[in-house]
Symmetry: C2
DNA sequence: CTGAATCCCTGCCGATACTG
DNA sequence: CAGTATCGGCAGGGATTCAG
């Protein structure tokens, strides 16, 4: 892999001057990188996305069971945050007990490559230098 | 793009059960995703990496000038953090004034694809669904 | 020129208790 | 079952000041 190789192909690396937003001089929330990091912000967030990526859909209870150390408050916080970010879709089942099921939106599923990139970098030993 | 498409090719999405670390049930620092997010943690961090990605090498003063709103303390904090994370290499020029030049390590340059993935997701409008 | 030390303020996260 | 309300601890980040 060469110096400025980018996964997308011909595009330059992020923040290179082919986009107005690439010239921001402070952490502005409109920067695409900031948008993504904001969506993934907070402890447990990536684990929740992973859980939904893996199973496709999960109820509140299933998520709580999968992540036992995650408190109810933070779980609700994260799900609300991911919902606001357009990552998850919420479905209420009116019966009893009234369960709520969470599914990734198409946009949410597109976080797969993002998490993959994060995973790859973190997993790389970089012996090659 | 289909449900579980991953940029890397045959590998499953991050956190899928082909890796022991994919089964973590709490935000453990050994998780590759956590490692990468930890490296990029903190305000201004991605902008600093972008600056080095763009110019190859920058002095403390140049970085400070490029990011005027970034205080000296946080700049030093971030550079120390990126150094500890193995992302940047520090070079002291003994003369006077004693300048310090920062360069991305090979590992640091490999953050290019990561930032690209973050950029792409944040820039996507996702009209396609 | 670099960067460490200090202080303060803010926001995040966790536990607990409570509501539709 | 699925959250909300509240509180307290702790870490992040900014300004200022001091040192190598």
């Amino acid at each position: 892999m060469t110096h400025r190789t980018v996964s997308g192909g011909a595009r330059p690396a992020p923040g290179l001057p082919d986009d107005a937003k690439a010239r921001v001089t402070s952490p502005h929330p409109e920067c695409p990188v900031e948008i993504t990091l904001a969506a993934l912000r907070g402890r447990w967030t990536t684990l929740l996305v992973r859980e939904l990526l893996r199973h496709g859909h999960r109820t509140y209870t299933e998520l709580s069971a999968a992540l036992p150390r995650l408190s109810a408050k933070v779980l609700a916080d994260r799900l609300a945050h991911l919902h606001d970010a357009g990552v998850v879709h919420r479905t209420r089942t009116p019966g009893w007990p009234a369960t709520v099921t969470y599914v990734l939106t198409p946009r949410g599923r597109e976080l797969g490559p993002v998490l993959q990139a994060l995973w790859d970098w973190g997993a790389a030993r970089d012996d090659g230098d």
